[in-house]
Subunit: 441 residues, 2 copies
């Protein structure tokens, strides 16, 4: 054994010794999740974990709030981050979100020998690999079970329970806001109404772009890819498509095709390349992804040996997310370690081979179907079906074409030329149709 290894092990034994006594915990952020973490810790009184510090801006307002009732009187409340970084806390729990200033603080925490538990998906998607290196160098832990799918233990489940498989494909519903909007639309509501409701309920931000345009889901997909596919992706390279162009009529047509519509985050290994995309998709009603309603999250991991494994549950909300955070805290407190396999940087493409759903809204004139069919034929895309529901005026007629499987870029080429047709009243909608591959026996 090398001397370096011996030293690292002595350090890790020292850490374990520390872990066997009580670990002191600081919370950064005392909002919905932070106060839930405090409440769960107070309710469960887990041995070996003690909340000692809470950091928040305008801390007095938090300290005197109803949510602070479960917090022990001995806890130090502060709005000065150095009170945490220079303290003797063993674990910093970060629940603030965003890259700045949080990243700098957490780097300092790791360097000063504090482990970090975080629910910050953007931070982990963009800086996870680099922060993990800092943690390893300083013999501390960086865990982020709450960064994807809240209370659903998909990260620990995949990291520890599926490491023996070769996971080739991930598909998931990892943004509760989009799932709330789309599953309400499935019941007949329209996008604008449901978005307004979601904003009122606190599910969606005033500016909903991060959710509805797929940036939140993209960060989570990259984290899942690292854990399950052992592939490090650049989040900015992952193609996204907004759900805001999906309309009520699309759910009606989807139903005729025995499908519903969900924001699906997908990643698939293809040699040294990863196909990845976050987009609204037609999902067959027989797929587990169609079962997910409201703010629920679901991830399907498809392994070479184990087939499809489904994880689902409450992906958001204070208490489900707190479960993930507290589970991670116990893991740090007990000096646990999970299986680590080599992760490789992978290039990303948004190309998928899939059947497509194309919805057009036209001022109906003879020759339109022929023009569309011609544009599709030109790129080699075969029409599978043509659907036209009754009850719409000829001068504003929505109708649907589905195609046999073809490449994303192929269909996009055809859509660009179809969009230029005079009769098109709005930009045509193009959605991929999910094909389940691991059918129940």
């Amino acid at each position: 054994m090398t001397t370096k290894k011996t030293r690292a092990m002595a350090q890790s034994a020292a850490k374990a010794a520390k872990a066997s006594s009580t670990v002191k915990v600081a919370l950064l952020g005392f909002g919905t999740v932070g106060s839930s973490v405090a409440r769960v810790l107070a309710a469960s009184k887990f041995p070996g974990v003690q909340l000692t510090h809470i950091f928040n801006r305008n801390v007095e307002q938090k300290r005197t709030s109803a949510a602070a009732k479960s917090v022990s009187a001995s806890v130090v409340w502060t709005e000065n981050i150095n009170d945490i970084l220079k303290s003797d806390v063993d674990v910093v729990v970060e629940l603030m979100g965003g890259l700045n200033p949080v990243e700098g603080w957490l780097r300092k925490a790791l360097v000063s020998g504090k482990s970090v538990v975080t629910a910050n998906k953007q931070l982990i998607a963009y800086r996870g690999a680099s922060l993990a290196k800092v943690a390893a160098q300083h013999g501390v832990q960086l865990i982020h079970g709450a960064a994807v799918a809240g209370g659903v233990p998909v990260i620990t489940g995949m990291q520890q329970g599926l490491c023996g498989d070769q996971v080739m494909r991930l598909s998931g519903i990892v943004n509760g806001t989009c799932n709330y909007i789309l599953s309400r639309m499935e019941m007949g509501a329209d996008y604008a109404t449901v978005l307004a409701d979601a904003q009122q309920l606190g599910y969606a931000e005033a500016n909903p772009s991060a959710d509805v345009d797929g940036y939140d889901a993209r960060a989570k997909l990259c984290i899942l890819s690292r854990i399950a596919l052992h592939a490090e992706l650049d989040p900015d390279a992952v193609a996204t498509q907004t759900i805001s162009t999906v309309e009520a009529i699309d759910f009606m047509y989807a139903k005729e095709l025995n499908c519903t519509i969900r924001q699906v985050s997908r990643a698939q290994v293809d040699g040294t390349l990863v196909h990845a995309r976050v987009a609204p998709m037609l999902v067959p009603l027989t797929s587990p992804l169609a079962w997910s309603h409201g703010t629920q999250n679901m991830v399907v991991a498809s392994g070479r040996f184990g087939g499809d494994v489904v994880f689902s549950g409450h992906g958001a909300g204070g208490e489900p997310t707190a479960v993930a955070v507290v589970s991670d805290l116990l893991s740090v407190a007990q000096g646990c370690k999970t299986v680590q396999l080599p992760v490789r940087k992978r290039s990303v493409t948004g190309e998928f081979m899939a059947p497509h759903y194309l919805r057009f809204v036209v001022d109906d004139k003879p020759g339109i179907v022929s023009a569309i069919a011609g544009a599709l034929a030109k790129v080699g895309a075969n029409i599978d079906s043509l659907l036209q529901r009754p009850g719409h005026p000829k001068h504003r007629l929505p109708f649907v074409v589905t195609t046999e499987p073809c490449l994303t870029s192929t269909i996009e080429k055809a859509m660009n030329s179809i969009a230029k047709l005079d009769c098109m009243l709005e930009r045509p909608l193009c959605l991929q149709i999910l094909v389940p591959e691991d059918k129940p026996e």
Copy 2:
């Protein structure tokens, strides 16, 4: 720190040192799962894991079989268990099943400093606590991720990802054979035909009792209770009900009630008592448990804070089970450790408060409904609905009564008196109806 603790830590550091090099692995049992484990190890070439020994009776037959092709020539094949127990292997992987002689072998392995990975649910249900103590005393690991739900990482997911919650209730489909039979019956087949098919496909034993009468599921439920509810149950104390009395007609009536029928294993914490039962139940089509088809497994863990979390996938078969075994092997190889919380012995009751489905087959005469209603009224059970499908002869008439929620013992008292009525042509069937408690938002 106590000297004892220091010593234990030095030992654990030594183990970690060992873990950082290659661990030598012996397989006990080279059947479907054993040969799949060898194949997965050969295909994935995980660093740090080396298969060195294979034990099986009539080992020559195994060594020369097609399944042995993926096994390296350097592997020692033996039918003498001492070749394993006295060797320098680090991990014994037990895939033989049963209590004897396996338990004695594994105790010896643990005492001689070998970690054990096992898929043996009966062994872990009955002897898990005692074996875990031996493992801890000798500073080695005993892991059994494959003992429940094959390739679905429900044990690691709950142990590591839900430890921060207080899981109050488990409900699961953990016997693939029963699920295959019942989901085929849902499509219209009858019990005897499907059982014969299941036997032919290798899903069911010649004597199918362990599966259809619930003993296999009961062992798994006890393992899950230990992990998720931190409750140690006596498997023999868990009530079971056979699926063999469920008939095709019950699926028709279930459908009228928007339900299907599944073998459900349930456990629910109630102070220091655990309510537990393995039985065929009416499951609403909206429940995740109704989604499970064929040999799929599914476990729903209901936490006080996180709500319902669903795990599902392939619960049986060589390769899915091998994924769980190999994941456990990697965990041992990397010296991983999972969160441990105190487990307490708990008394078990089969009592549940539930609505009930009662199916009678009668020689129809005036006064029958009144007699049944009278027997139910006498114990205080309220009738919720009465269903009678057309097309059956009066002299052999199946009909159904559903009740409002009442206790198992209450309904059993009524059923015992109803069974004695002259007109009853067979013993009435009594099934509980599952009430979903955590509805999608």
